[in-house]
């Protein structure tokens, strides 16, 4: 009897002890080796992280490079290549201590002589770098592992700018920075990340292999940052432009992970016992960007009328294929997942669908049914769908919408010319600080030059007290719904699929990452 009890309970007791000790059980489960095949939509325009805001470049380059800071699971900045930082009492001098012993993929140690030129280059090319470096008076190395940033005035955006994953402040070896001027895209890819680029065959694959000398942080994985382990021998990103093929390949196991799938594949994927569909959020909030430089939409009353006219839920439901899992009704300009900046303000004129108000505003605007040129594209189905439904809703209430369907390359060119359109469709992805909201800048198409909005944006960039910043952001949100620089629709989510053999994937980040991921095959 007693030996039988021992047989029964000793393993349980051992397992409990291991759980309490923390980790060995999970560590055992993690397995080194294997190739992970990831199917994505297309080719990156570049693997130079400083050079483009393209999301595919963001996804790929964050495996190869790292910046001084990264984002935690609440999308707040946490150190990555920086060990720590101090700020002078007057808030004008940031001193960053760098981690020691971090190696580039070429074997060289990363030091301040790489960090200073890398971020100077980023400050000249990246939209986030430019915004930060506009506030920088001096940027220099103090010693091998210390760098100093002197500001012209107090700034709230230093750490978050260094932490954003898109168009990010990746640290390159200084030799590469010297070789490629900021406006020339780098074609040599050496970083400090857990994976190094092995081979790029356009339209076939981008192979990244484990960087064995990677020096991970000691913390646990946290959002995009914290400890990173490359369990996989190789991550192979395969562009598969046809979405039905991506679905088929993840079903057959030719892909271990498929990104950017059509929402109508959800049921088919859910029925497959070998994989799991993942709802990816945040993704985009749908937006009609209004041209405030020239034409009809310079009229604030007309913009307010558009905002008051639309009935957002049926549009979102339709775009999301009728599935509640794939959309969210929310008026906050920052998405729910961006904890610091998500707002819950009541009384905003969002999703009103108020016929009387629309008629009044149209009359006040002096609108005489002139055609409003609304550009969209069929290359992104969700853009076309919401533009089409918007046209129907607006025309029911007295607007005259000239829907212009063009290809994406045409749209992104024409949107830079204020003479060519009144509104265009796009999506607003996650932004991690209010100052990074492109639709509130004067330089981005649509041109939000409104003085009150710009004044508040400038205050938000200067103010460093977190509570005061939140109050300013709430004020900005109310102002947004009054000035209506763009029309905010609902949040749309994306669809991904992961094979059951792929383990450790962090489902909570906006973009996919494959460090800390392993395969069991």
């Amino acid at each position: 009897m007693s030996s039988s009890l021992s047989r029964k309970y000793v393993p349980l007791a051992l397992a409990a002890l291991m759980l309490i000790a923390g980790g060995p059980l999970t560590a055992e489960a993690q397995k080194k080796g294997g190739i992970l095949k990831v199917g994505n939509l297309g080719e990156p325009p570049s693997l130079d992280a400083h050079w483009t805001t393209a999301s595919i470049t963001e996804t790929l380059t964050n495996h190869i490079y790292e910046g001084l800071y990264s984002l935690d699971s609440d999308n707040r900045p946490i150190p990555m290549l920086a060990e720590s930082h101090t700020v002078s009492k007057d808030g004008l001098v940031y001193t960053f201590k760098l981690r020691q012993g971090v190696k580039f993929h070429n074997g060289k140690e990363m030091t301040s002589e790489d960090v200073v030129p890398s971020l100077a280059r980023w400050g000249k090319q990246s939209i986030y770098g430019k915004a930060l470096f506009a506030q920088v008076a001096e940027w220099k190395a103090l010693d091998k592992y210390t760098v100093e940033m002197k500001l012209k005035e107090k700034s709230a955006i230093v750490l978050i700018s260094l932490a954003v994953p898109n168009n990010f402040g990746a640290i390159y070896p200084k030799e590469i920075v010297e070789k490629f001027a900021p406006e020339v895209k780098a074609t040599e890819y050496v970083g400090t990340g857990p994976f190094k680029l092995a081979e790029w065959k356009p339209d076939q694959y981008i192979r990244m292999v484990r960087f064995d000398d990677y020096k991970s942080r000691n913390e646990k994985p946290n959002g995009y940052g914290g400890g990173k382990t490359a369990y996989l021998d190789e991550v192979r990103f395969q562009p598969v432009p046809e979405v039905a093929t991506r679905v088929a390949q993840v079903e057959t196991g030719e892909l271990d992970f498929a990104d950017d799938l059509n929402l109508d594949a959800y049921d088919r994927l859910k029925a497959n016992p070998n994989l799991r569909p993942l709802v990816s959020k945040p993704y985009y909030w749908l937006v009609a960007v209004l041209n405030k430089k020239e034409g009809l939409m310079t009229n604030q009353k007309l913009r307010q009328a558009w905002q008051a006219a639309i009935d957002i839920e049926p549009i979102m439901k339709n775009v999301a294929g009728g599935r509640a899992e794939f959309y969210r009704m929310d008026s906050s300009l920052a998405m729910t997942e961006i904890v610091s900046w998500h707002t819950k303000l009541s009384g905003l004129p969002w999703n009103e669908h108020n016929r009387a108000k629309v008629q009044k505003l149209l009359q006040e605007a002096g609108y005489k049914k002139e055609p409003i040129r609304f550009m969209t594209t069929q290359e992104y189905k969700w853009m076309y769908d919401f533009a089409l439904l918007t046209k129907q809703q607006l025309e029911d209430l007295g607007f005259n919408i000239d829907l212009q369907v063009v290809d994406w390359a045409t749209l992104v060119k024409r949107r830079n010319n204020p003479k060519e359109y009144d509104a265009f469709t796009t999506g607003i992805g996650a932004f991690y600080d209010p100052t990074h909201a492109v639709f509130l800048t004067a330089s981005w198409p649509g041109w939000t030059t409104d003085e009150d909005i710009q004044k508040l944006q400038a205050e938000l960039a200067r103010e460093t007290d977190p509570k005061k910043r939140v109050a300013l952001w709430e004020q900005q949100t109310r102002l947004f719904y009054d000035k209506v620089p763009v029309i905010r629709y609902g949040d749309l989510f994306g669809l991904r699929a992961i094979r059951n053999t792929t383990k450790g994937f962090n489902e909570k980040t906006e973009r996919i990452r494959f460090y800390n991921v392993w395969v069991e095959k």
Partner: protein, 314 residues
């Protein structure tokens, strides 16, 4: 014959000059901007303008055109904006998948199309004839992408017999290349076989009604010999023409098949280049395709001489 060949080859030059000029003008005149696509959705106008300048896209169109001519004469097709490599290198990388797909699909098309046409003609009006022509009608009507996606669903997803998509080099791993090529070659070949079958049938029927066939039969020549030696050879000229045209079309890129089956060939290259306005790549692919088209036509013309001794080029 030699003089004819030289004359034909010389006519290639003006044809290509016209083609590249028209393509250059068309691709530059349609709206769209490679730089806006390259720099991403949040790029500012200042960034876009700086990069346009760096790539020389801010220069007047005629200046860009003459620079393009000068480069082509030197055999340099320029640098892809997106692929980080010269256009010539990109084309060479894509040539193998497209050629393998072209010849595999062509093989399937000929193997299905020619015998079907002959059998249908030999048994004109029979159940065989009607069934084969119905199938060939389906081949013409069924859209390539629909057929391809259904093949993937059936043979890859449901049955698991073949991979859904992808490509392996025939030089590196012939067996894997074969597995990857079966579905695209069959779906593309089936589509193309329809036309070949219908042409083969009508040409065979025409040949079978000629006096020399009646004479051969009167002399007691066997049915097999009548069909293959007397009728088929004479019916072959139009069939060769169709096969040649099919081949030229396929080399230009079996766009849909390459995209659905994720084959990194010329068709896929030109689609992504057009969508991203990668001007040098578009021009390069069109130049190669036009050259292939002209040369294949020349080869077909030369083949006529061997098939039909009555044809002579002076």
């Amino acid at each position: 014959m030699t003089a004819y060949l030289i004359r034909r080859l010389l006519t290639v030059v003006p044809v290509l000059a016209v083609v590249v000029t028209v393509v250059f003008l068309l691709i530059h005149l349609i709206p769209g901007d490679p730089v806006s696509v390259m720099l991403g959705p949040d790029a500012t106008l200042a960034q876009i303008q700086a990069t346009r300048q760096a790539l020389g896209l801010d220069r007047p169109l005629h200046e860009q055109l003459f620079k393009f001519y000068a480069r082509v004469v030197r055999g340099d097709l320029g640098q892809s904006y997106f692929l980080d490599r010269p256009v010539v290198t990109a084309l060479l990388e894509r040539a193998e998948p497209t050629l393998v797909l072209t010849f595999s699909a062509l093989l399937v098309a000929i193997v299905i199309g020619v015998p079907s046409g002959i059998v249908a003609a030999a048994y004109q009006g029979s159940l065989w004839d009607r069934t084969l022509m119905l199938i060939s009608l389906l081949g013409v009507c069924v859209p390539g992408f629909w057929l391809s996606l259904n093949f993937i669903y059936l043979f890859a997803v449901r049955l698991g017999w073949l991979p859904a998509a992808g490509y392996a080099s025939i030089l590196a791993d012939p067996m894997a290349a074969l597995r990857y090529m079966v579905l695209p070659a069959v779906s593309l070949g089936f589509n193309q076989s329809a036309l070949i079958a219908r042409i083969s049938r009508s040409c065979m029927l025409e040949a079978l009604q000629q006096d020399y066939i009646r004479t051969a039969r009167a002399k007691g020549v066997s049915q097999r010999s009548v069909m293959w030696v007397h009728a088929f050879r004479n019916a072959l000229v139009p069939v060769i023409t169709v096969v040649g045209i099919t081949m030229a079309i396929l080399i230009g890129g079996a766009v849909v098949t390459e995209i659905v089956f994720n084959i990194p060939g010329l068709g896929r290259l030109i689609i992504s280049a057009v969508l991203r306005r990668d001007y040098p790549v578009v021009q390069g692919v069109i130049l190669v395709t036009a050259t292939a088209y002209v040369l294949i036509n020349l080869v077909v013309d030369v083949l006529y001489v061997f098939i039909d001794p009555r044809i002579r080029y002076g």
